[in-house]
C-alpha cells in the first residue's frame, strides 16, 4: 500500500540505479532517509532490465525488477536523478556536499506522461543500445517499455531537430534547446552501486566478434531470448534470423585471462551460461547447446543442482577446453570452432556462438574515484577489506554490488541491504526511532449508502482510440449506486488526482472505481488519493481497461467497448460491497534474538546494538567465535585472530548485548514484533521476549570417512592443517590435498564454495613457510571465483601442482609400512601414477547444522534438501524467510567466505532494524477473517496455511479457528477450503467475487 511521508533524518546519495542502487535506496527510504538515486542513463534499472531470466529460480528478470521500479516511483523519500553524474565532492562523512551535473534530457519529466505520441512522429531511426543494437529505436525514446521514469528522452547525437515531436506533444513537454544543469546535494553518506561494464569481446580477436554476425555476446543473447527483445522471445540468430540448431557458449571471455590483464574470475558467467543454455533448450528442446569451459564455478547455494539439472534434465553438453579460434563458413555463416580435447585438435561447426563475456569495472571509474577520493584495487574495482566488505577507503562512502567485486544478483541484493545498516548508523545519531504510524482520519461510512464515483481514464489515446469513452461513461452512469462519472485524459496525473480527491469530498463519494490501466502498477497512486480525501484505502476498485482491454483488442473497437462496459460493471459490483478495512497493527518489542555466537551472529548483534536495540545473543558452546576461531589466515592482509579478538571485545563490552553461553533455544512462539523464547542453560531456564529473530546457527565440518581419515594421523582435514601451520607444527616435505571430500557427491551434491579458496590459501602458506615442500592439489573444478583467482594463479606460479580428477578417476590413499601412498590419474598422459606424501589433507565439506531442523520446526520455515535454511526468494535477498521477523545469515544459510558472512549479517541486521525501528508495525489489511459462529473446528484451514497464521482455541467448550493477523499473507487458500464458508478474505470476500461473477455474466 502507500508509503506515507516519513520522518526524514538525513539524506543519502546512492550512485547507480541498477538493482543494487534500487535495493539500497528502497531500504534506506523505508528507514526514513531522504534518498537521491543517481543514474547516468535516462532510466534506472541497470543491467538487470536487459536480462531474460534470473538464476537459480529462472524467474522473469524484468518482472522482478518492475516490482522494485514501481516501489521507487511511488516512494515519497526517493528522488531519482537520471542523466546525472558526480562532478565534485566536498566535506566529510556526515556532511558531504556533492556537485551533480544533469545532462539535458530535452523532455520535461514533470510534464511528460509517457504517452508516446512523439515516438510515432519521430522520423529518425537508430540502433537500439538497450537491445544491443539488434533492433532500431527512434531518436526520441524510452530505454525499455517498463522503464522508470516513464519519461521519454532525446538522443541528440541522432536528433535532426525537425520539431515533429514538439508539435505533437500535447503537454508541451519537449524542449530541444534544454541545457545541462548543475545542482548541489547535501548528504551525510554516499553509497556506490556503480555496477560493471561488460567486457568488449572485440579484444579477443580470435573469436571473431564484430566480424561474424552469428557470434554474439551474452547480453546480446539475453536480448535475443527476451520476450520484449528484438525477436520477441523467439530464439533466432542475427544474420539470417533462422533458429540456430547448434549453439556454442565460450566461457571466460575477458576473465581469467592474463594476456588481457583481467586475471580475476567474473563469478557469474558459468551460471548465466547454464541459464541461457537451459532457456534455449526450453524454447526448443532439439537445439543442441555446448558449453566450453575451464572450470565450472557453480559454487552458490544449490547452484550445483542447477548445473546437474542442465546436464541431466536438459542435456546441455559441457566440454572442458579453451576454444582456440572461431572462423566463419562463408556460405552458411556458420562458425567453425577449433579446440583441443584429450590432446587432440578438433573442429566443430555451430550455427551460433555466445561469448560469455566477463565483468569489467564501470566505465570512467578512475575519474569518479579521484573526485570521491576512494581507492580502487588493481583491477579497477572498489577496494574493500575482508573484515570491512562494504566500506570504501573513505569514511562515509560505502559500496555494494558488482563494483565491489563481480557478483550475481542475489549477492548484490544482499550486499545492498547490508550497506543500509552501516549508512543508517551514521545518519541516525540522535535517534533511530521513527514516528509511530499515524492513525488515519477516515470518514465514518457506517450510516451511508454506497455512493460510487467512476473515473474513466483515456490514457491519452491509449484507451480512447479503441474504446468509445462516451458510450462507456453513459453506461457506467446507469449502473446501480453510481452517482458520478468523470473523464480524464490522464487520471494518474497529479492534476487529475487532486480533482478526484476534490470530487470525493464535494460529492460525498464513498466508493471509487477507476477505469484505466492495471492496478498492479497504478493502484498505489490512487490509494494515496483515497487517503488524501479521507476514505479508507480498501474502498477503491480498478477496472483494467488498458492492458486487459484496449491494448489487446486494437482492431475490434465495438467489442472492446462492450468488454470495457462489462469490466466497469464488474468493478462497480465489487465496489458496492467494499467495506472499510482497518489495517491491523502489532506492537513491536525493540529487542532482537540472535542465535549463534559465531562471526555472523556477533556481527548482526553488534550492528543492532549500535543502532540502540537490545540484543540477546545465544551461543550453544562455551565461547564466542564459532568457526572463525580456527581461521588463522585469509586471502589478503588481515589477521583473522586479531579481528576476532576485537569483535568479541566489542560484543562483550556492548551494554545492549546480553550474551548467553552454553545456552540453547528450547522453544519459540509468537509472531513478528512479539516473540517469546525459552532458553535453557546450565543454571536453569530463562524466557525472553523480542521482536525479531536472526538465525546464525553456523554449519559443521563434514567428518570424512574417506581416504583413511581417522585411521592415520597423517590424514587430516584442511582445518587441522591450518592449526598445524599456525602453531608451527608443520614439517611435511610433500603434501597432497584432495578437494570435494563429502561435497559434490551423490549423498551431498552441493559444492561447499569455500574449500578451493581454503586450499589455495594454505598451499600458499606452506610455500611461504617451506618453499621446498611439494604440494599437490587434486580437484574437480578449481572454484576460486572473483579476485581469489589471483591467489590460485600465484599458487601455480609458486609451484603448487593442480591436478584435475573426475569421479571415475578419484585418487586413492593407502598406507604401506606406515607410509602414505596416493595413487592418482594423470589426465593428460592418461596414466595412473603414485605419490608418497608426508601428509594428506582432505577438504571436508561444510554441511548444515543439525540444529537447523529444530528451528525450522519451531518457526515453520523451510530448509533446503541438505538442511540449510531456505530463504524466501533465492534470486533476490539471501536473508528473508517466509516467516515475518525471522532472518538468516552466515553459514546457516549456505557455505560462504568471511566477507560474505559479514555482508549477510549486515543485511539481516538491516532487515531486522527495519522492523525494530517501528514501535507499531502496520500490516496488510487483506487478511483472512473467521466467522466463529460458522466455524466447525475441523482444522482444515490450520493444516493448509503455509504460514501458521491459523490457530485453534477453545471457545464455549468448542474448538474454533482464529487468524494471527501478523502471520497472514492474504493468499486466501484457507477461505477456499473452508467447508462451512466460515472464512473470508478482506477485500477479496466471497460475496464480492460472486458479485463480480454475476456482473460479468449479465446479458
Amino acid at each position: 500500500m502507500t508509503n506515507m511521508e516519513k520522518n526524514v533524518h538525513s539524506s543519502v546519495l546512492v550512485v547507480g540505479g541498477g538493482i543494487a542502487g534500487i535495493q539500497a535506496s528502497l531500504e534506506l527510504a523505508d528507514l526514513g532517509h531522504k534518498v537521491y538515486l543517481l543514474d547516468e542513463s535516462t532510466s534506472i534499472g541497470g543491467s538487470m532490465a536487459q536480462l531474460d531470466k534470473i538464476f537459480p529460480i529462472n524467474d522473469c528478470s524484468i518482472c522482478t525488477l518492475m516490482d522494485k521500479l514501481t516501489q521507487v516511483s511511488q516512494h515519497p523519500n526517493i528522488k531519482v536523478l537520471t542523466n546525472a553524474e558526480i562532478e565534485g565532492l566536498q566535506g566529510e562523512a556526515g556532511d558531504f556536499e556533492v556537485t551533480v551535473l544533469r545532462r539535458a534530457r530535452y523532455v520535461d519529466e514533470e510534464k511528460c506522461n509517457g504517452c508516446g505520441a512523439c515516438v510515432e512522429k519521430c522520423p529518425v531511426e537508430v540502433p537500439d543500445e538497450f537491445n544491443m543494437r539488434l533492433s532500431k529505436r527512434k531518436s526520441i525514446y524510452i530505454k525499455y517499455p517498463q522503464a522508470f521514469p516513464v519519461t521519454y528522452a532525446i538522443d541528440m547525437n541522432s536528433c535532426t531537430k525537425c520539431g515533429a515531436c514538439v508539435e505533437v506533444c500535447e503537454y508541451d513537454a519537449i524542449n530541444l534547446n534544454e541545457t545541462e544543469k548543475r545542482l548541489t546535494l547535501k548528504v551525510s553518506s554516499i553509497v556506490l552501486a556503480l555496477g560493471f561494464s561488460p567486457f568488449d569481446p572485440k579484444l579477443k580477436t580470435e573469436y571473431g566478434y564484430g566480424r561474424f554476425p552469428n557470434v554474439v555476446n551474452s547480453l546480446e543473447f539475453e536480448r535475443i531470448l527476451s520476450d520484449y527483445g528484438p525477436y520477441n522471445g523467439t530464439l533466432l540468430r542475427p544474420y539470417d534470423q533462422r533458429i540456430p540448431r547448434k549453439i556454442a557458449f565460450i566461457q571466460c571471455v575477458g576473465s581469467r585471462d592474463a594476456q588481457l590483464g583481467n586475471i580475476y574470475c567474473s563469478s557469474v558467467c558459468c551460471m548465466y551460461a547454464i541459464k541461457e543454455a537451459i532457456a534455449a533448450k526450453e524454447r526448443d528442446p532439439t537445439v543442441q547447446c555446448t558449453i566450453f569451459y575451464m572450470d565450472i564455478r557453480t559454487s552458490g547455494k544449490d547452484y550445483e543442482l542447477y548445473y546437474e539439472q542442465a546436464k541431466k534434465k536438459y542435456g546441455v553438453r559441457f566440454v572442458r577446453s579453451r576454444v582456440a579460434s572461431v572462423d566463419e563458413a562463408p556460405d552458411t555463416h556458420n562458425l567453425l570452432l577449433k579446440y583441443v580435447v584429450d590432446e587432440e585438435p578438433r573442429t566443430e561447426e555451430f550455427d551460433l556462438v555466445v561469448l560469455s563475456t566477463g565483468m569489467c569495472p564501470p566505465k570512467n571509474v578512475e575519474r569518479l574515484a579521484k573526485i570521491l577520493g576512494i581507492n580502487l584495487n588493481k583491477y579497477g574495482f572498489c577496494m574493500t577489506k575482508t573484515f570491512s566488505p562494504i566500506e570504501t577507503s573513505k569514511p562515509g562512502i560505502f559500496v555494494c554490488g558488482a563494483f565491489a567485486r563481480p557478483k550475481d544478483i542475489p549477492e548484490t541484493v544482499t550486499q545492498a541491504s547490508g550497506v543500509v545498516i552501516k549508512t543508517a548508523r551514521i545518519n541516525t545519531s540522535e535517534s533511530c526511532k521513527q514516528a509511530p504510524v499515524q492513525p488515519q482520519v477516515e470518514r465514518d461510512l457506517s450510516q451511508e449508502e454506497p455512493r460510487i464515483g467512476v473515473f474513466l481514464c483515456h490514457c491519452g489515446v491509449n484507451i480512447s482510440n479503441v474504446v468509445n469513452m462516451n458510450e462507456l461513461a453513459e453506461y457506467a452512469g446507469k449502473l446501480p449506486n453510481v452517482v458520478l462519472v468523470e473523464h480524464f485524459l490522464y487520471a494518474c496525473s497529479r492534476h487529475s488526482r487532486n480533482k478526484i480527491a476534490e470530487k470525493i469530498r464535494e460529492q460525498g463519494l464513498n466508493r471509487i472505481v477507476i477505469g484505466g490501466c492495471t492496478p498492479r502498477t497504478h493502484e498505489d497512486l490512487f490509494l494515496e488519493v483515497m487517503q488524501e480525501a479521507g476514505l479508507n484505502v480498501y474502498l477503491l476498485e480498478i477496472a483494467n481497461l488498458r492492458e486487459q482491454c484496449a491494448w489487446t483488442h486494437l482492431e475490434q473497437p465495438e467489442k472492446a467497448t462492450e468488454k470495457a462496459k462489462s469490466l466497469v460493471q464488474l468493478a462497480v459490483a465489487k465496489a458496492k460491497l467494499l467495506t472499510p478495512v482497518l489495517k491491523p497493527a502489532v506492537d513491536v518489542i525493540p529487542t532482537a534474538l540472535v542465535v549463534g555466537g559465531g562471526l555472523a551472529g556477533m556481527t548482526a548483534a553488534l550492528e543492532l546494538a549500535n543502532q540502540g536495540f537490545e540484543v540477546h545473543l545465544v551461543e550453544k558452546s562455551g565461547e564466542l567465535g564459532g568457526h572463525l576461531r580456527n581461521i588463522h589466515y585469509v586471502l589478503g592482509e588481515e589477521n583473522p585472530q586479531e579481528e576476532l579478538k576485537h569483535i568479541i571485545s566489542k560484543v562483550s563490552s556492548s551494554p545492549n548485548i546480553h550474551v548467553y553461553l552454553n545456552s540453547e533455544v528450547v522453544a519459540i512462539s509468537g509472531h513478528v514484533g512479539n516473540f517469546q523464547t525459552l532458553l535453557k542453560h546450565k543454571d536453569g531456564a530463562k524466557e525472553i521476549r523480542h521482536g525479531v529473530v536472526i538465525l546464525a546457527t553456523g554449519a559443521l565440518e563434514y567428518n570424512p570417512t574417506e581416504y583413511l581419515y581417522g585411521q592415520s594421523s597423517k590424514v587430516i582435514t584442511q582445518r587441522e592443517l591450518e592449526q598445524k601451520l599456525a602453531k608451527g607444527e608443520f614439517n611435511a616435505k610433500s603434501v597432497v590435498m584432495i578437494q570435494c571430500v563429502g561435497a559434490r557427491t551423490n549423498d551431498n551434491p552441493n559444492c561447499s564454495r569455500i574449500c578451493c579458496g581454503h586450499s589455495v590459501k594454505n598451499a600458499l602458506k606452506i610455500k611461504e613457510l617451506s618453499p621446498e615442500t611439494e604440494v599437490y592439489v587434486f580437484y574437480k573444478d578449481i572454484r576460486t571465483f572473483g579476485f581469489y583467482e589471483d591467489y590460485y594463479r600465484k599458487a601455480s606460479e609458486k609451484g603448487v601442482t593442480f591436478i584435475c580428477y573426475e569421479d571415475e578417476h578419484k585418487p586413492s590413499v593407502s598406507l604401506e609400512h606406515g607410509e602414505l601412498k596416493v595413487v592418482a590419474w594423470e589426465p593428460v598422459v592418461k596414466q595412473w601414477f603414485s605419490l608418497q606424501p608426508d601428509l594428506v589433507v582432505l577438504n571436508a565439506a561444510t554441511v548444515a547444522n543439525t540444529d537447523n531442523r529444530n528451528f525450522a520446526e519451531m518457526l515453520g520455515i523451510p530448509l533446503t534438501q541438505d538442511g540449510f535454511f531456505l530463504e524466501t526468494k533465492m534470486e533476490l535477498s539471501h536473508v528473508d524467510t517466509p516467516r515475518a521477523g525471522v532472518f538468516i545469515c552466515g553459514l546457516a544459510h549456505s557455505p560462504k567466505f568471511i566477507e560474505e558472512t559479514i555482508t549477510q549479517a549486515y543485511a539481516a541486521a538491516a532487515h531486522a532494524a527495519e522492523i525494530l525501528s517501528k514501535s507499531r508495525l502496520e500490516i496488510e489489511g487483506t487478511v483472512a477473517v473467521i466467522n466463529e459462529d460458522l466455524c466447525s473446528g475441523c482444522r482444515i484451514c490450520e493444516n493448509l496455511c503455509e504460514y501458521g497464521a491459523i490457530k485453534m482455541r477453545e471457545e464455549n467448550e468448542r474448538l474454533v479457528a482464529y487468524v494471527v493477523e501478523a502471520l497472514c499473507k492474504s493468499c486466501g487458500v484457507c477461505g477456499a477450503a473452508c467447508p462451512t464458508n466460515a472464512i473470508n478474505l478482506n477485500y477479496f470476500t466471497t460475496e464480492q467475487i460472486l458479485a463480480q461473477i454475476k456482473a460479468a455474466l449479465v446479458e
Binding site: I57, C60, Q146, D227, E547, Q548, W551, K563, A976, I997
Partner: protein, 144 residues
C-alpha cells in the same frame, strides 16, 4: 442461437502475481486475443473456491479459467498453486457428474513474462468452447 454466432463467455480467475501480470504483459506487448474473457483478480489461485467456478457456470459462463504461477516454486504463497490444481482436478470430476463437460474448466500456469501464453490460452479456450457449444446449464435455463 445460431451455432456460428455463438460467442462463449469465459470467467478468468487470475492470481495477482503471475497470471494477472501475464495478462497485463499481453496488453503491454499488444498481443491480440478474443474479447470473450472477463478477468477477476485474486491474490492467489489457491483463493479460488470451487463455489466460484460452480456459480460462474450456473450463471451462464461457458468456460472458466484459473490462472496461477508455475509449479513447483513460482507461487508467491509457496503452494497455493498446488492447492488450486488439486481442487480443479477434483472439480472436473464433479462437473462431469453434473453433465457439464470438464473441458469447460481449465487451469493454466502463466508467469508474469508469458503474455503470449495468456493470449494463446484464451484463443484456444474460445475455439474449444465454440466447438463444445453453449454451457448446457444455460440451455436448461432457457428451456424453462
Amino acid at each position: 442461437m445460431e451455432p456460428g454466432n455463438f460467442e462463449p463467455k469465459i470467467i478468468g480467475f487470475l492470481c495477482n502475481w503471475c497470471a494477472y501480470a501475464g495478462a497485463d504483459l499481453a496488453g503491454i506487448s499488444r498481443i491480440q486475443y478474443p474479447p470473450n474473457i472477463r478477468i477477476i483478480r485474486v491474490m492467489c489461485s489457491g483463493r479460488v473456491d470451487p463455489l466460484f467456478v460452480l456459480e460462474a457456470l450456473k450463471n451462464g459462463a461457458d468456460g472458466v479459467l484459473i490462472g496461477g504461477c508455475h509449479p513447483p516454486s513460482d507461487c508467491h504463497y509457496l503452494s497455493g498453486n498446488f492447492k488450486a490444481w488439486r481442487r480443479t482436478l477434483l472439480l472436473k470430476r464433479v462437473l462431469a457428474q453434473f453433465g457439464i463437460e470438464p473441458e469447460r474448466l481449465r487451469i493454466e500456469w502463466i508467469s508474469a513474462s508469458e503474455g503470449d501464453k495468456f493470449a494463446r490460452v484464451v484463443k484456444e479456450m474460445v475455439e474449444e468452447l465454440k466447438k463444445l457449444g453453449p454451457n448446457p446449464l444455460k440451455l436448461t435455463e432457457e428451456a424453462k
